[in-house]
């Protein structure tokens, strides 16, 4: 069977969804990822679908093992996201969701840097509608900031690609040594989408402002495409080890004091991407396998966590920890699925995080990075603390907020159940996932010591949480925002802009006012002499002129005799 480029299935599907409604639209929505997956099964290895353009060859499909892994992952994520959003009567969200998933597939199977750039920008544009669809002022402003940064990342990528093709004549997707302007531009572009420290705030800004269903889509694609591209271009780049370690560390502090529970998840997402970036930096086959496997698991369990919080937001209209609590009474199924997601991200034995995160950590020790290993271990305990305990605890337990609502809609429950099943399947039977990894796996997750040490780490973290609460040391959830790197462009830059504007206005005023005064003065002086009653415009009697002429001549006569 002849296969087409994977993104085409989604783009055609989006067109059909735009033209239909009701049950037919729902059927098409569900069919798209299934048809896409069948299409992917028949996709040959290597290059296909090349189009010559302006002297370059755009390669739309280049498939290898790593590409197929992300390809199947994105189909799975798209399917779960579609099931989760099936109750919506919102054409914009359905169409943009499909286009967005298709763009991610286009980027994964892109065979050259220019094609990658095209889908890189399409990812930005199509996903922005999932934020705009919230249809609030706040969301619109967040979406515009998001779009600006994402498009900016694309322009950096394009600049890097153009300079590189100029210098080397190559637009191939291949490992790039991190030297020279072109390489750094591309590194920065990928770094923005990967949420490197100080470049990360677009994620914590925009994702919590998207619709309850939109965030589920958003969490699956953009950052994982970036991780995939990072693995293609900068594998084994030592700087990534430290960038990754920092990424695992700093967001957990923010997550502890953040009130918006979807923003807590956004911070914990950066923490998880940190493990992947670190693994890519270490660059051994174990580390890279770990990074990729963790990307797979993260898409599913982070999607599940965002689904459970989306369901809470959908039912209660609230998402702040300070407003929630006691929801296990009304939403027991959502509570259960959320706990599965929490156990998976915390890497409990038998849950998916357990079989992938540790590969990166073992690789860090093996390659002689004990400090990085300690940081990752700290972050592992921390992620359990804020994502594993805090999210379920403050939403579903803690003090009873008095909110009584209905259980999530059936389609949401099904999507959560499917995601939870994948989390448990990958955790309990990791070998199917391991088989899909780019390198042969020589790693056994279920040894007595690994199960024991991970249990020790997690249960004693839980113990710390309990004691902190019993001793009243745990910081309460407060309605607040916390200053982060975004302060520079959301507060400082506008302030500088305002000052500059004020200065400009003042300058203009002084020029206009001062200038006008000067003109008026000059004009006044001029008019004093030339106006009808001015000295130069007055009509003089002829006699006085004859008199003054006589005076002048007389003076001349006298002077000439002296």
């Amino acid at each position: 069977m002849a296969s087409v480029a994977p993104f085409l299935v989604f783009f055609v599907g989006a067109a059909l969804v735009a033209a239909t409604s009701g049950a037919l639209r729902a059927a098409i929505l569900l069919a798209v990822p299934i048809v896409g997956a069948i299409n992917l099964l028949g996709l040959p290895d290597g290059t296909s679908g090349a189009i010559p353009l302006f002297g370059y060859t755009l390669t739309f499909v280049e498939a290898d093992k790593l590409g197929f892994l992300f390809g199947y992952l994105f189909h799975l994520a798209a399917f779960f996201g579609i099931v989760f959003s099936l109750h919506l009567r919102d054409r914009v969200q359905h169409v943009s969701g499909l286009l967005y998933a298709g763009s991610a597939l286009g980027a994964v199977f892109a065979g050259d840097m220019l094609t990658l750039f095209i889908f890189w920008e399409l990812l930005a544009i199509t996903s922005a509608f999932l934020i705009l669809a919230r249809r609030t002022d706040r969301a619109t402003r967040a979406a515009l900031r998001y779009l600006l940064i994402q498009i900016g990342s694309g322009l950096l990528l394009l600049a890097g690609v153009v300079i590189r093709s100029w210098q080397t004549g190559s637009i191939a997707i291949e490992p790039i040594a991190l030297e020279g302007l072109a390489a750094w531009l591309i590194f920065l572009a990928v770094g923005i989408k990967c949420c490197f420290p100080f470049l990360h705030n677009w994620l914590t800004d925009a994702y919590p402002e998207a619709t309850p269903t939109g965030t589920v889509f958003l969490s699956a694609f953009t950052t994982k495409v970036a991780v995939y591209v990072l693995a293609r271009l900068f594998v084994g780049e030592p700087i990534l080890i430290y960038i990754g370690a920092v990424m695992t560390m700093f967001p957990i502090f923010y997550a502890v004091i953040e009130n918006d529970l979807r923003r807590v998840l956004a911070y914990s997402m950066i923490n998880q991407i940190g493990f992947m970036v670190c693994g890519i930096g270490i660059g051994t086959s174990l580390a890279l396998n770990g990074a990729v496997a963790h990307a797979f698991n993260d898409v599913i369990f982070k999607g599940l966590l965002f689904m459970s919080m989306g369901a809470v937001l959908y039912r209660t209209g609230k998402i702040n920890g300070s407003d929630l609590g006691g929801l296990y009474k009304s939403m027991p199924w959502t509570t259960g699925f959320c706990i599965v997601g929490a156990a998976s991200i915390s890497a409990f034995p038998l849950f998916s995080g357990f079989v992938s995160k540790s590969m990166v950590m073992v690789a860090a020790l093996e390659e002689g990075h004990p400090i990085v290993w300690l940081a990752l271990l700290f972050a592992s305990a921390g992620v359990f603390h804020h994502a594993g305990i805090k999210i379920p605890y403050f939403a579903f337990f803690a003090h009873d907020s008095g909110i009584r609502t209905k259980e999530a809609p059936t389609n949401m429950l099904i999507a959560m159940a499917l995601s939870a099943a994948v989390c448990i399947f990958n955790g309990a039977y990791p070998w199917l996932l391991y088989e899909m990894l780019p390198f042969p796996v020589d790693y056994a997750p279920y040894t007595a010591e690994h199960v024991l040490t991970q249990s020790q780490l997690l249960f004693f973290s839980a113990l710390a949480f309990v004691w902190l609460n019993l001793l009243h040391l745990y910081p309460p959830e407060l309605p607040s925002v916390n200053i982060d790197a975004e302060w520079s462009y959301r507060k400082a830059l506008p302030a500088i802009g305002r000052v500059a504007l004020a200065l400009g206005r003042q300058a203009r005023e002084s020029i206009v006012v001062g200038g006008a005064a000067m003109l008026r003065r000059a004009f006044g002086r001029l008019s004093r002499h030339t106006w009808p009653d001015g000295a130069l415009a007055r009509t003089w009697p002829t006699g006085s002129m004859a008199f003054w002429t006589t005076v002048v001549l007389a003076m001349y006569l006298i002077l000439s005799y002296l």
Partner: protein, 85 residues
């Protein structure tokens, strides 16, 4: 689904059930800590070889995490409408 009666008692409305969970957690912690003396661990790094390393590290890490984050609030926390002005 029928709406539940307002006064229905749920499992954690009873404080004794909350305490049961807390006691169970302490018991599990005691067991996994004790297991350290019986399970031979292959160690990659000398720190790992210390008895109870993962227990102590997990506990201390979380305590520090929360206490430091609390201090960070003093510097970083602003009103909810901070960026809306």
């Amino acid at each position: 689904m029928a709406p539940e009666p307002e006064d229905k008692r749920h499992i954690f409305d009873n404080p004794r059930n909350v305490w049961r969970v807390i006691y169970a957690l302490h018991a599990i912690c005691a067991v996994v800590f004790a297991a350290d003396f019986f399970v031979h661990r292959h160690v990659e790094h000398p720190w790992e070889a210390l008895y109870g390393f993962y227990c102590v590290y997990g506990f201390v890490a979380c305590f520090l995490l929360v206490l430091i984050a609390k201090e960070m609030r003093k510097v970083l926390m602003r009103r909810e409408d901070y960026y809306d002005g």
